[in-house]
Assembly symmetry: C2
């Protein structure tokens, strides 16, 4: 990984020394840059950009140039030091993104070729940098014609939506799923995947000045019903749908409880976030008498547990297919030049507990 390369490269090693006799097309020598932080804190303050040499790949290594990488909430929390998993410092942030293979090492015998598009197979690859050197076991090849933003953002959020719809309760044609934070990147993916499999969605969002605009947007994506937290209990449209057996919760606190109360007997609420900074509150009666189950989902764990599992490739194939056919749009986003990373970090911070557009770092490479 680049992080290791950065740390391990003795400063005396000049790029000019990289002419190592590799056959043409397998060499690469240039200058790149990475973002890095050495202490936890406010991302705008602790993250710095650093010029770094880009060595040629050796042995079975693959050199990729990054094309685009999102700023996800988990990246922000990792930098702040509040995330569940903390890398050793200094660290290059970035858990997701899409790159293009530019060269492979002399001893490389794998299936990747320059020009191939790849996304990380491993967690915490450190995607906020222009170039990455990695073994190809760390990477997953994706369709060459994949849209840039889709490719950069498909694994984490749509992956989370896909698994939550698939792994907890069997939901099929005509069933209903309820979710809060429905305008989150995961929420938008949930709506679209649900449409593709014929599942109704009850989408709960917080009230806000432009609420009608947001409702229209989610409805355009395919939301069956969009309600504010206040409207949820009394909504006739909600009552008219089959009671949901699956609830997806990224807010927790009172909103989580309200959503949980809509579940049919024996339903499951899957928590994947805590935007309210409150715990999940489960009424005793819901658990005992209505047989409600409360679970959690973490894409990172799922990926680790299914590192090379065919289910993972199957999921990505399915998601890219949906995206290609126009059924899964990338989240509402802003492409930010890598050099303006500070702007991306600033805009990625929640404002009054709400997240704005997904910030995506775009590299000059792309």
């Amino acid at each position: 990984m680049w992080r290791r390369v950065c740390a391990a490269l003795p400063s005396r090693r000049k790029l000019s020394s990289l002419g190592d006799g590799s056959p043409p097309g397998r060499r690469h020598a240039t200058t790149g840059a990475c973002l890095e932080y050495s202490e936890n804190g406010d991302p705008e303050k602790v993250v710095a950009r650093r010029e770094v040499p880009v060595p040629a790949p050796r042995g079975d290594q693959v050199l990729m140039k990054m094309l685009a990488a999102p700023v996800n909430p988990a990246d922000i929390n990792t930098i702040q030091g509040t995330y569940a998993v903390q890398p050793p410092l200094p660290s290059i942030p970035g858990n997701e993104g899409v790159g293009e293979v530019v060269a492979v090492g002399d001893g490389y015998a794998g299936g990747l070729q320059p020009g191939d598009k790849v996304i990380p197979r491993v967690n915490a690859l450190g995607t906020w940098r222009t170039h990455i050197i990695a073994p190809d076991t760390d990477l997953i090849k994706i369709p060459c014609d994949a849209d840039l933003v889709t490719a950069a953002t498909i694994a984490v959020n749509p992956g989370t939506a896909y698994r939550m719809l698939k792994d907890f309760v069997h939901v099929g044609f005509g069933d209903t799923v309820i979710q809060n934070g429905a305008n989150s990147a995961v929420g938008q993916a949930v709506i679209q995947i649900a449409v593709a499999i014929g599942v109704n969605t009850i989408n709960v969002v917080r009230n806000r000045p432009n609420i009608e605009e947001l409702k229209d947007y989610l409805t355009t994506l395919g939301a069956t019903v969009v309600v504010t937290e206040e409207e949820l209990r009394k909504s006739e449209k909600v009552k008219a749908l089959p009671p949901p057996r699956l609830a997806l919760n990224c807010v927790s606190g009172r909103s989580g409880t309200d959503v949980l109360r809509q579940l049919a007997h024996g339903g499951v609420m899957v928590t994947y976030g805590g935007m309210s900074r409150q715990p999940v509150i489960g009424p005793v009666g819901s658990l005992i008498f209505h047989d409600i189950t409360l679970r959690g989902f973490w894409m990172t764990r799922w990926n680790k547990q299914h590192f090379n599992d065919p289910q993972r490739q199957e999921m990505l194939d399915h998601l890219f297919q949906l995206a290609k056919s126009g059924k899964l749009k990338p989240p509402d986003h802003t492409l930010v030049p890598f050099s303006d990373y500070i702007v991306a970090l600033r805009n990625a911070m929640p404002k009054q507990g709400m997240l704005g557009k997904k910030q995506i770092l775009k590299f000059n490479n792309s």
Copy 2:
């Protein structure tokens, strides 16, 4: 059911009219009594005793005399009107107990005989009465030599303990289970069943004046560790055990969260009560990053779903076997003559949120 018989019996029908030509031994005519309430409220105030005629069983009916019936928390809450399920009023309380068959109807072709001991198969049979007429499908025959108190109390509390240890996480020899409210009737059964299958128990109880006495009592039952809520976090004895994958929670609120935090990655907390009158509070991180699952258990639902399932008989056989071999003692209890039911109701109410000894109504019949 007696309730129906009570209600349906025209007052003009005299006991003297019950000489219906049944062969000797199939007749029965006497006077009995039932407890009854016509409105929800304080059990001591709303429950009244009523003399009732005891008709002879007709057709395929079975007449049993009650021997003993406990006052369970669910009975109290049902009378108060705070329980999840409410019977139509007026109603005869009592969900559990043991009776003895005294006569069967003319057309009876089942396997029960006078002298057989039986417990309810159905929920809400209304056991707080001297006699019950029911079809034998409402009853389960139990071993004739079963101890009176064991028979009267085995189905609900030890049944709950048994199922929670069996149906959520596989716990076997050397594993650990943690529970709060460990001195409850269910808790005491958990400790003893766990001992019988080689499972360690971490038992959390609230601090109280006679705490050492309580610790000694639970230790005598086989508890591996007994700690107060305050001692739980820092207990070296707790840390020395394999982390529990199963937690049993009848308190909820903060106590539930404290117990949940002790669970190993991927563990399950099963809630079967809310003594604190607080909801179950699940930290978001526990759900997402530690993959903790929160479930609920309700014996009534299990029994309904397994009404005639062999698993039910298997469970009762196992529990009676444990009891017979001295490995499962009945809960700490007081036998109260049926005529003193008011005393039993009073003593069954929680004092400062704590339950005292199990109150068991004992009928003159026994």
